[in-house]
Amino acid sequence: MSHVLIVAEHFKGAVRKATLHAIGAGRELAKRTGGKLHLAVLGKGVGPIAEELSAWGADVHVADAPALEFPLAEAHAPVLAEIAKKAGAAFVGAAATAIGKDVLPRAAARMGAGMSTETLGFGGEGANVTFRRPMWAGNVLAEVEIATPVKFFTVRATEFAAAAKEGKGNVVPFEAKVDAAALRTKHVSFEEVKSERPELTEARFVVAGGRGTKGDFKPVEALADELGAAVGATRAAVDAGWVPNDLQVGQTGKVVAPELYVAAGISGAIQHLAGMKGSKVIVAVNKDPEAPIFQIADYGLVGDLLKVLPELGAKVKAGK
């Protein structure tokens, strides 16, 4: 019997969507191990969040302390490790967000545990559960075994369904002993980046441009706005300075898996394909009929993006 602990993440007083997917993964894992699902939430003034989380039917361990206000790995990791011990958890997981990827490895190191990042699925049962995860930017899928008594993991949110509310768990306070003065890490500031468009890695639709835009991303952005999509770009477009670096999709950029990926003026370099191959439907628009992108696109249209994208945008508008 191996219990599973899922660490909840919150932003501006609300549970993050990605956490619900992680709870979904946790439920599946608990079925495989025959253990119970536990949740943990750390922060300052997080009582209401713990209450909210209890509606997912698992016990919620809540560490509420001023020193935990910001998700500093140095402060959160030791508390998380203590909660994992208290809950008797053999598996500790979270969503593969910036916070999850920062805090969990540190807590894993503290518990002498191995870890699987960006887990896509599980295999096996009981103590022999294995983790399926991407390597080489998703060009390879690996089945991984973790040979430590406690096993840590993050999950890619898009691979697990969001868990529905079910039952009622207990809220279990955990008294965190954090000496704020002894911390070597200080939070200075947080600047929210507000964008009218959805976040690239969370968007349902992505419209991306490459060299074929010749530096003019307006048609790409216009279609994106019509679709409510995020804008992506190739390394070539980023290197040319046409768009900011954080729009780069690819092995060294962001890995996305939206329902629809529109690749406009993108030839299909391996580096780029690695970042978007997991999309459900891929549309390619390119003047060059020989462009490699057509080999992986579900629907290819040989043509000028300057003409095609606005036309498609008009169709979307008319179809709404």
Binding site: A73, M135, R184, E199, D246, F294
Partner: protein, 267 residues
């Protein structure tokens, strides 16, 4: 206030190479694959060089692997790092083993700062820096980034993105996180991992490459460092993701819309 900085340079498959899995799933096909320094480590090396150019000090580059990893150490030396350390180890690596070995290098070198790529583009685990910080009891700042664009004047001037405090004992790190940008202040020594947007790494110059040949590269046998070298994260089997079958070409936007609307039902 001069800084002694330890950086990493892992040997990985070139991101432009096509990765194929061996038929028995035991590994990847390495024939015809090019190797280079992990792109995130290149950013780490670049950042360390900028800090040294600003504040003085020394940049020491470490790599864990077989003799061939010397190539990646030399590449960092050609960019301008001062000396190298090869931790010789032929076996499989995982972040547990890597961080344990790097902790030993840290103890020997006692740097003020460790800068690593946030992940290596082969196993994509994104863990080694965090494990290292915990093992050493140091502050950690992962996913270091820069607010200014990589086309900005500050980038042209090769300003470091990591800002050393006036007393030389702390470092301000801007991090790219979900929904925004966070700034942390870490007490030195600290562990920093680099994200894409921190800087544009320089290319090695010809004189740089010549000089690199004469720079010191020390070898340490991993087995002599008193570290458990058995990986805890064991890859049992590899497979390629289901191949996408090439789709159809459509004649015009009208047909494309119909396909998306009626066949794929995505719009």
């Amino acid at each position: 206030m001069p800084l002694k900085i330890l950086v990493t340079a892992k040997r990985v498959e070139d991101p432009e190479s096509k990765i194929k899995v061996k038929p028995d799933g035991s590994g990847i096909v390495t024939d015809g694959v090019n190797y280079k320094m992990n792109p995130f480590d290149e950013i780490a090396v670049e950042e360390a060089l900028r800090l040294r150019e600003r504040h003085g000090g020394e940049v020491v580059v470490a790599s864990i692997g077989g003799d061939r990893s010397t190539t990646e150490i030399r590449a960092a030396l050609a960019m301008g790092a001062d000396r190298g350390i090869l931790v010789k180890h032929e076996g499989a690596l995982d972040p547990v083993v890597v961080s344990a070995l790097l902790a030993k290098v840290f103890e020997q070198e006692k740097p003020d700062l460790v800068v690593l790529g946030k992940q290596s583009i082969d196993d994509d685990q994104n863990q080694a820096g965090q494990y290292l910080a915990e093992k050493l009891g140091l502050a950690q700042a992962t996913f270091a980034s820069k607010t200014e664009s990589l086309e900005s004047e500050s980038e042209q001037k090769k300003d470091p993105g990591l800002v050393l405090g006036g007393d030389g004992k702390s470092l301000k790190v801007v991090r790219e996180v979900d929904g925004g940008v966070e700034t942390l202040e870490v007490a030195l020594p600290a562990v920093v991992t680099t994200d894409l947007r921190l800087n544009k790494p320089r290319f090695a110059s010809l004189p740089g490459i010549m000089k690199a040949k004469k720079k010191e590269v020390k070898e340490l046998a991993a087995a002599s460092l008193g570290v458990d070298l058995a990986p805890k994260v064991v890859v049992k089997k590899l497979q390629e993701p289901p191949a996408r079958k090439g789709g159809v070409k459509v004649a015009d936007v009208e047909e494309l819309w119909k396909k998306l609307h009626e066949e794929a039902k995505v719009l």
